[in-house]
């Protein structure tokens, strides 16, 4: 079946099999390989994308259910040439090591930061509870996310 959806701001029309997962469409049909498949069972969060602005596990979302909806993948958060504050801070705080969890962490954290303000450590950990990282022990990720929130808040003050 053909569905029309918005991916990273661009309207895309794709042919999807009834059996395709959103993850398959993102990686295979659209070639956006930033989103990773870890467990394929909803357990690790490596496949996290924003669906209508909220983080979901794309390995457990049927592509057929995404007609008319808006998807943002890690590629939609910033590019290699122009990293977002969140991406920069995660890297500079050592919050990305092997990198498998990183795209999902960035997407979940971006949803948290879009609410504005500077979240507490506990709020960051809660927002990232569905993103498993085997390398960093999480504190470096939390520090990076909070540093990005501080920068965003300063930028928002500067702009207003």
């Amino acid at each position: 079946m053909r569905i029309v959806l918005t991916v990273n701001g661009a309207v895309r029309e794709v042919d999807v099999a009834p059996v395709a997962r959103l993850l398959d469409v993102i990686r295979e049909t659209l070639g956006l390989t930033g989103t990773k498949e870890g467990c394929g069972e909803g357990e690790c969060g490596a496949c996290t994308v924003l669906l209508d602005g909220t983080p979901v596990n794309s390995c457990l979302v049927a592509a057929a259910q995404c007609a008319g909806r808006s998807v943002v993948t890690v590629e939609g958060l910033g590019s290699a040439e122009r990293l977002s504050a969140l991406q920069e801070e995660l890297v500079s705080h050592g919050g990305a090591q092997c990198g498998i969890c990183t795209p999902g962490v960035l997407v979940s954290a971006a949803a948290l930061l879009s609410r504005g303000g500077v979240p507490t450590d506990a709020e960051v950990r809660e927002a990232l509870a569905g993103n498993i990282c085997r390398c960093t022990g999480y504190q470096k990720i939390v520090d990076g996310v909070r540093a990005a929130a501080v920068r965003n808040a300063a930028a928002a003050r500067g702009a207003s």
């Binding site: 099999a17 997962r21 669906l51």
Partner: protein
């Protein structure tokens, strides 16, 4: 990719119910459980019927009688943060918030949460066990540390839902529809023990859909909460938990409903513990007596005796927290 099936996205409830009346048709709400089951071959589907275009299945709103109507497609995240749920039915908001991970709560619905299939690893794996139509329960003499200590017979699953115990404790009712009409099923009667039907977790007939859940107004003086013990700090299913709704008037318990999660094939009410509280002040002493009563009749398997202590501890802790006046009603 998933095994093959056809996919329908009906526009009306009537059309959806007609499609669901065909054999091998399965409703698709959030899909967080369904997609895993199909992928792992737990069961097959001929047709998957998406509920996502059925606006009448959405929403959370107060009813005329002061209760709550929860559409089956309300997500766990919506339930966890809805102001009316948070303030008037804390047990339900906390149950929804305790389920799964943020991503899964954004996608998973309350209808899917109460109708999800069990997590027994034999059931999810390549074992044709009794629940799947085979002869044997592999857990009975196998790896059973996450299995039931109550209500098992021939099958020892635990019901995986964190919202169902809260809904049972609140005396909620499910509205169930099929192509033939609709009926109301009290949440307490929705779930079925293996001794009655070893192949299903609910009394829903093929083709029946939960369309909404009705929660009565909270009883006067009611305090409630949900407590869950899991083996990791982040997301995980309950090892044991309790949904508690306790009404207090003039310093005495007038009504108590205690429903355990993670320890039985259905949300497990403990009437002995409820009786132990009736007419008593809600305090540390009555909490301890009720907690002991809550584990009466437990029949642990070789690997899950620890759950008896967990239940005792979680019930005592929940009641002690409810006993402190600072607890929001």
């Amino acid at each position: 990719m998933l095994p093959s099936f056809s996919y329908a996205r009906p526009r009306t409830l009537k059309d959806a119910l007609t499609r669901l009346s065909a054999s091998g048709a399965h409703p698709h709400a959030g899909g967080t459980d369904l997609l895993g089951c199909l992928r792992d071959g737990v069961f097959d589907a001929r047709e998957v019927v998406s509920l996502s275009d059925l606006a009448e299945l959405r929403g959370i709103a107060r009813t005329k009688d002061g209760g709550l109507r929860i559409g089956a497609l309300a997500t766990l995240a919506e339930l966890a943060r809805h102001p009316d749920v948070v303030s008037r039915y804390p047990v339900l908001a906390q149950g929804a918030a305790a389920a799964a991970s943020p991503q899964l709560r954004n996608q998973g619905t309350v209808g899917g949460n109460v109708c999800q299939r069990p997590r027994c690893w034999y059931f999810r794996g390549d074992f044709l066990c009794a629940r799947k139509g085979g002869e044997l329960c592999y857990a009975e003499n196998g790896e059973n540390e996450y299995h039931a200590i109550f209500g098992g017979s021939g099958c020892h699953i635990v019901h995986p839902s964190d919202t169902a115990p809260a809904l049972v404790a609140l005396g909620a009712t499910a509205v169930v529809a099929s192509a033939k009409g609709s009926r109301r099923v009290p949440m307490e009667k929705l779930f079925v023990l293996p001794a009655v039907d070893i192949h299903h977790e609910t009394v829903l007939a093929p083709g029946e859909l939960v369309t909404e859940i009705l929660v009565p107004p909270p009883p006067p003086g009611a305090r409630s909460l949900y407590r869950k013990v899991r083996s990791r700090a982040a997301w995980d299913f309950a090892l044991a938990g309790v949904a508690a709704v306790v009404s207090v008037a003039d310093g005495k318990v007038t009504n108590a409903r205690l429903v355990l999660s993670g320890v039985a094939p259905v949300p497990w009410r403990v009437p002995g513990a409820e009786r132990a509280l009736a007419g008593k002040p809600l305090d540390a002493a009555s909490a301890a007596v009720a907690a002991r009563a809550a584990v009466e009749g437990a029949a642990p398997l070789a690997g899950n005796g620890y759950k008896v202590d967990l239940v005792r501890g979680v019930v005592e802790e929940a009641l002690t927290v409810l006993a402190t006046p600072a607890t929001p009603a």
